[in-house]
C-alpha cells in the first residue's frame, strides 16, 4: 500500500510543483498585488528612503514644526572629496590641497565654525569674508537627495538632525520610494467613470460575440449536415482555419481586409466612396469588426460541437419525421434543436467565461481604439499594468482590475465543478495497492 502511494506521489509531484508555482501562486498574488500601490516608480522589490523637492512639498502639507524643513536642508558641513574637487576646479588646486591636508574628513555643525577654520589657512589666505562664505557653502551637507537603504539608518540620521518623533514619522512615510499597502485601488475603480465604461464594453463584447458564435455555429452545423459530405467537409475546413491559424496572422488578414489600402476600401471605390479605414474610423465599425473577428473563430467551436451532436441523433427519428410529413424547418426546429440543448448550454457557459477574460484579438486588432471605445475590462487591466503610452505602469491598479476577473473565474470554475458529474469522475480505482 505504501509503496504504491509513493509511486503515485512521485508521478504526480512535478505537475503539482509546476501548477503550484506558476498557476496557483499567480492566483493568490493577484489578490496580494491588488492591495499595493506598486507601479513603475515604486518598483516591485521594495524601495529606499529619499528626500527630494517633491517629498518636501508633500511634507509641508502635514502639521510639522516650523524649523523641520530647515533642519533637513542644513545638515552641517563636512570636508569631503566632492567639495575639494569643486574647489580645485573653481579656485586653485593648492587651496584645495591645503584644506585637504588640514581638515579632510572633519565635520562642522554650522557655517560659522567652518569659516573660522578657513581663516586659519596659511599658504592660501582667503581675504574676503564673502569668499569664505562661498567656499564654506560648497561643503554644505544635506540629507536631501541622499539615498538610504534601510529605515533604521535613515531614522538615525533624522535623530541626529534633532527632528522630533512626530515629524520623523511623517518624513519617513513620505520619503519612502517603494510600494506600500493600500486599499486605494478598490476605491479608485469604484469611483472612476471609466471602469463602468469598461464593464459596459465588456457586456457588449460578450453578448454580441456569444450570440454570433452560437447562432452562426448552429447555422454552420445544421446547414453542413444537409449537404453532401464532400461539400460539407470543405466548408468545415474553411471555417476551421481561423481557429488553427496563429492569432497574429489571422488578425493581420482582417486588417488587410478592412484598412484603407485593403479589400473593402478597394471595393467601395467602385461605388464612388473614398478609401478609409473601415476598422478604426468609428466605434460602431470597430465593434463590428471585433465581433466578426472573434465570431469567425468562435463559430467553429460551436460548429464542431453541434455537428457531432447532430450526428448522434438516431437517423430513425429524422426518417420518421419525414414520413410524418415534416418539412425541413419543422425537422430542424422540433427535432434537431431540442437535441442540441446541452451542447448549446455548454458552449454558452464556456464561451461566456473565456470571452469575459480574453483580450488577445482586441489587442491585436484595435488595441482598444478608436479613442478607448473598444477597451474591455481585461484589456484595461493589461493596459494599466503592462503597456501604456504614459509609461507609468500601475501594477497594483492593474492587478485590481485583474482580480475582478480572477474572482469571476473562480466562481465560474466552482459552477463548472457542480455542472460536471463529479461522482462519475471519482469512482474508486479497482486495483488496491
Amino acid at each position: 500500500m505504501n509503496r504504491i502511494n509513493w509511486f503515485g506521489f512521485i508521478f504526480i509531484s512535478p505537475v503539482l510543483i509546476m501548477v503550484l508555482l506558476f498557476f496557483l501562486t499567480p492566483v493568490v498574488m493577484t489578490a496580494f498585488f491588488s492591495f499595493t500601490n506598486m507601479s513603475t516608480s515604486t518598483g516591485i522589490k521594495g524601495g529606499e528612503y529619499l528626500i527630494n523637492q517633491e517629498t518636501i512639498k508633500e511634507i509641508k502639507k502635514y502639521n510639522i514644526q516650523n524649523d523641520t524643513i530647515e533642519k533637513l536642508e542644513n545638515a552641517g558641513y563636512s570636508i569631503n572629496e566632492e567639495g575639494l574637487k569643486i574647489i580645485s576646479e573653481k579656485y586653485k588646486e593648492s587651496l584645495s590641497n591645503e584644506i585637504k591636508s588640514l581638515y579632510f574628513g572633519e565635520k562642522f555643525s554650522n557655517r560659522k565654525d567652518l569659516e573660522r577654520a578657513l581663516k586659519k589657512l596659511k599658504k592660501n589666505k582667503i581675504k574676503k569674508t564673502r569668499d569664505r562664505k562661498e567656499i564654506a557653502e560648497i561643503f554644505k551637507e544635506s540629507i536631501i537627495n541622499e539615498r538610504f537603504d534601510s529605515k533604521s539608518i535613515f531614522e538615525e540620521n533624522l535623530i541626529k538632525l534633532e527632528i522630533d518623533q512626530n515629524d520623523r514619522d511623517v518624513i519617513i512615510k513620505e520619503s519612502y520610494t517603494g510600494w506600500s499597502w493600500t486599499n486605494n485601488n478598490f476605491k479608485l475603480i469604484y469611483s472612476l467613470p471609466s471602469s463602468y465604461k469598461f464593464a459596459f464594453y465588456t457586456l457588449i463584447y460578450v453578448s454580441f460575440t456569444l450570440t454570433f458564435n452560437v447562432v452562426f455555429g448552429l447555422f454552420l452545423a445544421i446547414s453542413t449536415f444537409y449537404l453532401p459530405s464532400k461539400t460539407a467537409s470543405t466548408f468545415r475546413t474553411i471555417w476551421f482555419l481561423p481557429r488553427i491559424l496563429p492569432p497574429v496572422l489571422y488578425v493581420l488578414m482582417w486588417k488587410w481586409f478592412t484598412w484603407d489600402t485593403g479589400f473593402i476600401s478597394q471595393m467601395s471605390t467602385y461605388f464612388g466612396a473614398s478609401p478609409k479605414n473601415w476598422m478604426m474610423d468609428s466605434p460602431v465599425h470597430a465593434w463590428t469588426v471585433i465581433v466578426l473577428i472573434n465570431g469567425f473563430v468562435g463559430a467553429s467551436f460551436g460548429m464542431i460541437l453541434f455537428s457531432s451532436a447532430i450526428k448522434a441523433i438516431p437517423s430513425s427519428m429524422l426518417y420518421a419525421s419525414e414520413v410524418d410529413g415534416a418539412n425541413r424547418w419543422q425537422q430542424i426546429w422540433n427535432i434537431i434543436i431540442p437535441q442540441l440543448r446541452w451542447p448549446i448550454m455548454f458552449t454558452t457557459a464556456y464561451q461566456t467565461l473565456s470571452l469575459l477574460t480574453s483580450f488577445e484579438y482586441i489587442l491585436l486588432a484595435t488595441n482598444g481604439g478608436p479613442g478607448r471605445s473598444t477597451e474591455v475590462w481585461a484589456l484595461a487591466a493589461y493596459h494599466t499594468a503592462l503597456q501604456n503610452y504614459a509609461g507609468n505602469l500601475q501594477y497594483g491598479l492593474g492587478a485590481t482590475y485583474a482580480l475582478v476577473l480572477v474572482i469571476i473565474g473562480i466562481i465560474a470554475s466552482l459552477f463548472y465543478l457542480k455542472f460536471f458529474n463529479f461522482k462519475d469522475l471519482v469512482t474508486k480505482p479497482r486495483i488496491e495497492g
Binding site: 508521478f11 505537475v15 488578414m253 470554475s413 486495483i431
Partner: protein, 275 residues
C-alpha cells in the same frame, strides 16, 4: 433523407457567407508572390521580393528571422514535451491510483481546467520579475507549460480512463510492478492521446502571443508572433505584402501539421473542451 431537396441553395448561401474568409485566404497567398497595380489591390506582376526577409541581414536593432524562428521552435517544442510527459504520468495517477487526496486533486483539476488563465497575466508578470525569470525563454516556457498542464492532464486522464482494467489486472497478476505495467502495457494503449497532446501543445506554443509579448519582450528572445506584430506596428515600413509573407512563413508549419495530423487533432478539438 436528402433526396427531394436540392442542396445548391444551401451551398450558395454558405459560399456567400464564407466569402470574406475565402477572399482573405486567397489574397494571403497571392500577395506573397505578386505586386499590386499602383493604388489598387489586384496583382499585376510576379515577384519574390516580399521574401527578402529570409536572406537579407537585418539592420541593427532588428532581429534575424532565423534566430526568431529558432526561439519559436525551442519554445513550442519544449513546452510541448514538458506538458505531454508530465501529463502522461499525472494523468495515469489520477485515473488509476488511489492516492490520498485524490478527490481534491480531481476537483482542482476541473477547476483549473475551466479557469481563464489570461486573467493571471499581471500577477505572472510580477511574479517572474521577483523570481528573476523575466525576459528569459525559460520563464515563458515554464509559465506556458504550467498553464497548459491542467488541460493536458485532463486529456490524458480521459485516454487512460478508456483503457480496460483487465489489461492492468493481468499484468499485476503476472507479478509486474505498477511502474512496469504502466510503461509496458498501458502506455502503448494511450499512444493516440500522447501524439494528439504533443501536436496540440506544440501548435498552441507556436501560436502563443500574449505570454511572450508580456514576459519576454527583449529582442533576443523574440518569437515569431511578437516579431510579426512588432513589424506591423512599426510605422516606418508599412508593407502589407511583406507582413503577409512573414505571416505565411510563420503559418507554414501550422498548416502542414494540421493537414498531416487532422484526424488526431480532431480528437482534442472535437472534445469541445478548450476554446
Amino acid at each position: 433523407m436528402n433526396n427531394y431537396y436540392r442542396s445548391w441553395p444551401i451551398t450558395l448561401l454558405l459560399t456567400l457567407i464564407s466569402l470574406p474568409l475565402l477572399i482573405m485566404f486567397i489574397f494571403q497567398i497571392i500577395d506573397n508572390f505578386t505586386n499590386p497595380a499602383p493604388g489598387g489591390i489586384w496583382p499585376s506582376s510576379f515577384t519574390l521580393e516580399h521574401w527578402r526577409f529570409l536572406w537579407e541581414t537585418p539592420k541593427t536593432g532588428e532581429s534575424y528571422i532565423w534566430t526568431v524562428t529558432f526561439n519559436t521552435f525551442i519554445f513550442a517544442s519544449t513546452t510541448s514535451i514538458m506538458v505531454t510527459s508530465l501529463s502522461m504520468t499525472s494523468g495515469y495517477v489520477l485515473s488509476r491510483l488511489d492516492i490520498p487526496g485524490r478527490k481534491i486533486f480531481l476537483a482542482g483539476l476541473i477547476m483549473l481546467h475551466a479557469f481563464p488563465t489570461i486573467s493571471l497575466i499581471v500577477a505572472i508578470f510580477l511574479t517572474l520579475q521577483i523570481m528573476g525569470l523575466y525576459n528569459t525563454l525559460l520563464g515563458v516556457i515554464l509559465v506556458k507549460s504550467a498553464l497548459e498542464l491542467p488541460f493536458g492532464v485532463w486529456i490524458m486522464k480521459g485516454f487512460y480512463d478508456t483503457v480496460p482494467w483487465e489489461i492492468e489486472m493481468a499484468g499485476i497478476q503476472d507479478g509486474a510492478s505498477r511502474f512496469t505495467v504502466w510503461r509496458k502495457l498501458i502506455l502503448p494503449q494511450v499512444q493516440p492521446g500522447i501524439a494528439a497532446l504533443l501536436i496540440f501543445s506544440f501548435l498552441s506554443g507556436w501560436s502563443e502571443f500574449v505570454l511572450p509579448l508580456v514576459l519576454a519582450p527583449s529582442s533576443d528572445v523574440q518569437v515569431l508572433s511578437t516579431y510579426l506584430s512588432a513589424l506591423i506596428l512599426d510605422d516606418n515600413k508599412f508593407d502589407f505584402n511583406l507582413f503577409k509573407s512573414v505571416g505565411t512563413f510563420y503559418a507554414i508549419p501550422v498548416i502542414i501539421i494540421y493537414i498531416v495530423f487532422q484526424k488526431k487533432l480532431m480528437n482534442i478539438y472535437g472534445g469541445g473542451t478548450k476554446g
